[in-house]
């Protein structure tokens, strides 16, 4: 891996440009624009050739770890292989060129894919209806909690504005509740990682709008008393929200709808292998049980019979007058939805349950091997789901080598680090999710790297605490980054 790359503006030379990409018209075509409305100075964009651009961004890409180049066991993110076919066939020119407001007559192929995707997602989650427009997990969460709120309001049940979340929940859960105008009530989990039922019973009441749960939880274990949790919340008049971040663990094995959940989101960029793209685009489709069907966000795709055969059409306000409304300018991350559709069709019903099985096999194998070489499991009595937590609190205490140090040293070994310091509940933790697409040999290599770091931590801890040594940069000064804000390149600030 080469070490660094200049900022693109440093390649600029006045008068240079990728002119083959430019239209012929010059500014004179704008002569009719009124006085005072024109821009006077040019924006700071680089003046570079096409080859400059290709080299620069190729080199930048080479400074990244990615699934295509490295094992990426980032817990809770499901970094599985993104099949090339999904990209290739979602980028057919007809799909790319289709305008979002093109008539349905010029969208039957696209709409058919979306309709079938809705149907498949309904089936694998046990939900009654699915809306595809939310554009990320957190966006789906927003839709879900907004539907819970709309449901209570439609019944005149105005006092229900409290959302219960277990303390180990993703940060998006409480942040979402706030965005929906609800207040958050956190409840603890017990020593085995299950929700504390006594605390739950004490928390529910006429103010309860619902509970947001991830199952398997962020602790990497299945919530065994989920049916009891559902009974308690439902008896109190609340609804259950399923955070689909960990759906990969149970795909084809157990369905959120059957567990008693009323509403959920699915991270299509996790479970259904659409790309993570360096931080998006995601897709956070939502599924609902019967009670919330009228509140789904628009648009949906519907199907009707016509003299010419089946026709697909958009469903909007007039079809769902109680909808929580529109959450995206057009149809969410449509191209991501096509990728998820292709992936699901390739898995088929046969492949769907293998995902959960082999994700779970890989996680339990990796956990067993790491324990064998001396790492401590956070929940040693429990089966791992598709991910698990190890804690290095002993090494931190005795050797001064923290979870972050292990993470950084892993980068030197050619592995992306697991998620660190989440969930907050477990000290010095690494949340590890291998996914089903990794081979046993890759997992073994990861174990060997972890074993080596463990021995380094005992013999030369400063080598670990000083890691990484081989990356384009060493550890960065985050405090300086936040205090001496440098958020844009300036022509005078040469690096």
């Amino acid at each position: 891996m080469h070490s660094r790359e200049k900022v693109i503006f440093e390649y600029s030379r006045p008068g240079r440009g990728a002119t083959d990409q430019w239209p012929h018209e010059e500014g004179s075509a704008l002569a009719d624009l009124p006085e005072g409305i024109r821009r006077t100075g040019r924006p700071l964009l680089p003046e570079v050739s096409e080859l400059d651009v290709v080299r620069h961004f190729t080199r930048l890409s080479q400074l990244n770890f990615s699934i295509d180049t490295h094992f990426y066991p980032l817990g809770s993110c499901t970094m599985k292989y993104n099949p090339k076919a999904c990209n290739q066939y979602a980028m057919l020119p007809e799909f790319l060129g289709r305008h979002p407001l093109a008539p349905e007559s010029h969208g039957q192929g696209f709409l058919a894919c979306l309709y079938e995707l809705q149907e498949m997602l309904r089936e694998v989650t046990g939900m009654q209806g699915v809306a595809l427009s939310p554009m990320a997990g957190a966006h789906g969460e927003f839709a879900g909690v907004a539907m819970i709120r709309a449901y209570h309001r439609s019944r005149g049940d105005l006092a229900r504005n409290e959302i219960i979340v277990p303390e180990a929940a993703h940060g998006t859960n409480p942040a979402t509740a706030t965005m929906c105008g609800c207040v958050v009530r956190e409840i603890p989990v017990d020593a085995q990682g299950d929700v504390d039922l006594e605390a739950l019973r004490a928390a529910v009441g006429p103010q309860t709008a619902g509970i947001m749960l991830t199952n398997p939880s962020t602790l990497g274990v299945f919530e065994r008393r989920i049916e009891e949790v559902a009974r308690i919340v439902h008896a109190a008049g609340g609804l259950l929200y399923y955070d689909g971040a960990n759906l990969n663990a149970i795909l084809g094995k157990v369905r959120p709808g059957d567990m008693g959940f009323d509403v959920m989101h699915m991270n299509l960029h996790k479970t259904f292998s659409t790309p993570h793209g360096g931080g998006g685009p995601g897709a956070g489709a939502v599924g609902v049980g019967a009670r919330l069907l009228p509140f789904l966000p628009i648009p949906l795709v519907g199907k009707s019979a016509s003299p010419e055969g089946e026709r697909y059409r958009w469903l909007a306000e007039q079809d769902l007058p109680q909808s929580i409304g529109r959450l995206s300018g057009f149809m969410g991350n449509a191209g991501v939805l096509l990728r998820a559709y292709i992936y699901m069709r390739m898995l088929g019903r046969e492949g769907m349950s293998q995902v959960g099985e082999y994700a779970t096999l890989n996680a339990n194998y990796l956990l067993a091997r790491l324990r064998q070489v001396g790492f401590e499991a956070a929940y040693p009595e429990r089966r791992a789901s598709h991910e698990f937590i190890i804690t290095v609190k002993r090494q931190a205490r005795e050797l001064g080598v923290t979870a972050m140090d292990f993470a950084k040293r892993l980068l030197d070994q050619g592995f992306h680090a697991p998620t660190t310091y989440f969930p907050l509940l477990v000290p010095e933790c690494l949340l590890i999710e291998p996914t089903e697409t990794e081979s046993r040999q890759t997992l073994d290599a990861f174990v060997a790297a972890m074993e080596q770091i463990l021995s380094e931590a005992m013999q030369e801890p400063e080598h670990v605490t000083g890691a990484p040594h081989t990356m384009p940069v060493r550890r960065l000064d985050d405090v300086r980054a936040a205090k001496q804000l440098d958020l844009t390149w300036k022509p005078t600030a040469q690096s």
């Binding site: 990426y72 554009m135 046969e350 804000l485």
Partner: protein, 469 residues
């Protein structure tokens, strides 16, 4: 099988290492009665050849019509290098750059993007993107409520000339937190918002005013007067702008005496294909004084332990994974890959190239308007100056005309009757640099024929109110 590499020998050895006899045993903690049955609703698996054939058939059904629709999504030329680079696995299959040392490529790219967007909008700082233009308006509204500490009303004025979908999304996203959106009427002669229409808010507490430039009709708003009105009344200004247009139009940072406070918009025109509406990306830029009120990821340049520069996510204390219920937004995943495409696009175009895209798009739209208004019964709906998109007024019903055009492979524009019932026979049309004079002639010829086959709309429907409420 499902991209799973395991051999049966692997599986046996792995089970032995775990100490179980079957994969099934790993699911023993899940209550038996909850276990899923076979998923009959999911079809049987397809291999790559089969899915390739299916998708190609589906794509063929949608065709490749000649498109004159704009309305927030614009067909621009996309250089081959943009997606050849963007779909490199190192960009495509990486995630949010939490491990800065292993993500310098994505981080530096976002820093370059922030620089370009801040400069393009004439603002000081940019975030790393939001979901799309519509959700950016919603996030900007919530941000304005946080930033305008003097205002207590949580009341946002949003002219009817702002994209109708943006108005709907802002309402759906922000009203749960008590933010109120009030629609400001526009002048049906000019097609623009008027500072005069704001007079009824004199002396009232207004948190922010949203101004879209060019507005949904393509009309150029008097952004200076509107901005100054807002600032004189203690309101912040949220500018909603088209990034292509910014190459030639005054940037929000220079609107009025003090400049807009937050600039947002749809990033799609910058190298992102139409793709049925997404994935696109929303951009958001602002003044340095409001940087801590921004939603979403922000990248900063700093030094490593050896004193060499490097890039990292910064100001994370605003975000959900740290602040939880008190975060500025719940946003986590954003639209990184589209930002990658946009940064590459802007690098290839440069200021001079982007200016030409804007000029060419405007020239083509003028040519289109001129060709279509030569047809009897077609005229420009508004008197105000337009940029790169325009509303026509037709004396025939629009829907059957569009259907007739579509059957000939021409998407003739957007029928405005759903969103603006007061505008009879209104059609929003757009041409970009991708349209040739032949394309425009083809459209004009087809429209002439279609119109001659249709009865004129009833005269009674011609009367229009002077100002729509």
């Amino acid at each position: 099988m499902a991209f799973i590499p395991h051999t049966s020998a692997d599986v046996q050895e792995m089970l032995a290492a775990i100490g179980v006899s079957s994969i099934e045993q790993l699911f023993e903690e899940i209550p038996k009665e909850l276990r899923a049955r076979a998923m009959r609703g999911v079809p049987s698996q397809l291999n790559e050849m089969e899915i390739g054939r299916l998708m190609s058939e589906r794509a063929r059904m949608d065709g490749r019509p000649l498109c004159f629709i704009g309305a927030g999504a614009y067909e621009h030329h996309i250089p081959s290098a943009v997606w050849a680079l963007t779909t490199r696995g190192e960009f495509y299959s990486a995630y949010t750059p939490y491990q800065a040392e292993a993500s310098q490529g994505t981080l530096q790219l976002i820093y370059e993007y922030q620089t370009m967007m801040a400069s393009l909008t004439g603002m000081e700082v940019s975030n790393a993107s939001l979901y799309d233009g519509a959700s950016a308006v919603a996030e900007a509204s919530l941000m304005a409520v946080r930033a305008n500490r003097k205002s207590k009303s949580q009341r946002i004025l949003i002219p009817a000339t702002v994209h109708p979908h943006y108005r709907k999304v802002a309402r759906a996203a922000a009203s749960n937190q008590g933010v109120r959106f009030e629609e400001v009427p526009y002048c049906t002669q000019q097609g623009a918002s008027l500072a005069a229409a704001l007079s009824r808010y004199e002396g009232q507490d207004v948190t922010a005013l949203v101004i879209q430039q060019p507005n949904f009709f393509g009309i150029l708003e008097d952004v200076d007067a509107l901005t100054d009105w807002a600032h004189a009344h203690g309101a912040l200004v949220i500018a909603v702008v088209n990034p292509t247009a910014l190459a030639v139009l005054k940037p929000p940072g220079q609107w009025g005496k003090r400049g807009a406070d937050i600039a947002v918009g749809e990033g799609q025109p910058l190298g992102v294909p139409l793709s049925s509406g997404g994935p696109y990306f929303g951009f958001l830029t602002t003044r340095m004084e409001y940087v801590r009120q921004m939603p979403g990821r922000i990248v900063g340049r700093t030094l490593d332990v050896t004193g060499r520069p490097g890039f990292t996510l910064t100001l994370q204390a605003r975000e959900q994974h740290i602040r939880r219920a008190k975060a500025t937004s719940n946003i986590c995943t954003n639209q990184g890959l589209l930002v990658t495409a946009a940064t590459i696009y802007m690098s290839l175009m440069g200021a001079a190239g982007l200016e030409r895209v804007a000029a060419a798009s405007h020239a083509r739209t003028r040519e289109l308007v001129s060709a279509l208004t030569r047809i009897a019964g077609v005229r420009l709906a508004f008197e105000g100056a337009y940029f790169h998109e325009a509303v026509l007024s037709l004396d025939k019903p629009v829907a059957p005309l569009l259907a007739a055009l579509a059957s000939r492979g021409i998407l003739g524009g957007l029928d405005l009757s759903e969103h603006y019932p007061e505008l009879e026979g209104a059609l929003l049309v757009c041409a970009t640099e991708t349209k040739t004079s032949e394309d425009i002639e083809l459209y004009a010829g087809a429209l002439t024929e279609a119109m001659s086959g249709l009865a004129t709309r009833g005269l009674a429907t011609r009367a229009r109110p002077a100002t729509a409420a």
